[in-house]
């Protein structure tokens, strides 16, 4: 019951905080997005986990143009180039999300150095093939909500 109440009071606030641009570690100033985000497909589905790193995204991200191109239950990511308005340092912000009909569920947020991922931004559509895996395995959820 207590957790339900906390979720109602603070859930949306925390989600909105998560979606904001990150703060620069040196200046503590909120970084600004430079232009529109790039959209990529990830090779994972629904609630699958992966070991996130700049290399992982560079090897596996497949560029797409619109959200409508995301296959059902497939995870995708938006990548922004962000810049600190004070010191000028640049980073790459990755939002890993799952698109469910018209809703989006933000799964994870990552921040990397600009140089680590700049090559990814110039990847053309068709460079990496988008394939359905030959074999997929999935499981149902079971959740118990207890009253505190």
């Amino acid at each position: 019951m207590v957790y339900d109440l906390l979720e109602i009071l603070f859930g949306n606030f925390l989600i909105e905080q998560e979606k904001k641009m990150p703060k620069c570690k040196t200046c503590k100033k909120r970084m600004e997005a430079q232009g529109r985000p790039w959209l990529f497909l990830l090779p994972v589905y629904s609630d699958e986990r992966y070991h996130a790193s700049a290399d992982y995204f560079k090897k596996n991200c497949i560029p797409i143009r619109r959200e409508e191109e995301i296959p059902t239950a497939r995870r995708a990511c938006r990548i922004w180039r962000v810049r600190c308005p004070l010191c000028g340092s640049q980073k790459m912000l990755v939002h890993d999300f799952l698109r469910v009909r018209k809703e989006e569920n933000l799964e994870n947020t990552y921040l990397y150095e600009y140089q680590e991922m700049v090559d990814l931004l110039y990847r053309q559509q068709g460079e990496l093939k988008m394939k359905e895996p030959r074999y997929m395995e999935d499981e149902a959820y079971s959740t118990h909500i207890s009253d505190d």
């Binding site: 979720e7 629904s46 059902t72 809703e103 569920n105 030959r134 395995e137 149902a140 959820y141 207890s146």
Partner: protein, 195 residues
Amino acid sequence: MMKKMNLIYMLICYGIPIALMVVLLIVSLNLNVQWELPLMLDFVLLIATPIFVPELLKKRMEKRAAAMEQEFPNINYKFTAHNCVVYLDTEGGHMGMVWKHNPFRLQMIDPAKITDIRTNDGQMLRGTEVVSCQFLLDGKKVKIYTLRVSGGQLAMKHPRVLEAISKADKLSEAVQAVVQAQKERQNRLLYRSRN
């Protein structure tokens, strides 16, 4: 015809703990009791049976399903739900299920008899307790749960609910692909037999 439950199996799984409870109750009532152990064991069984027996049934279902997997022609998609394991061959148009209450057979489904495939998000007011992919098989409803919540509801925008809906959507698409593949296979056979 789909057989979801094996009565003898269910009688054994639930019957043994219930019989044990009855025996312990009789023993504790008949002994001149300073010996409370049978009654305590009875109480423990009463609490433990509804918790552990379904879990054991599920584990047995998964184990049996894994042993029977080679009977299935070509697995593209395997989904483990609370009540069944589903195997789908979206290229060849085959579908098979192993049920929790009847885990002794991999039951093949004729995709030609599947209609009305959809995702049921179970929305009641602002939340849900169950999310499932459901379809009609020979006019009878079959539900494959992707989420079950006990003790309350989760909000429709809760991450678990959204993930469960996406799994149900994926499953619905896969079942639709199986039905489509089977139709194409039938059409090819028909074309060959005419020529």
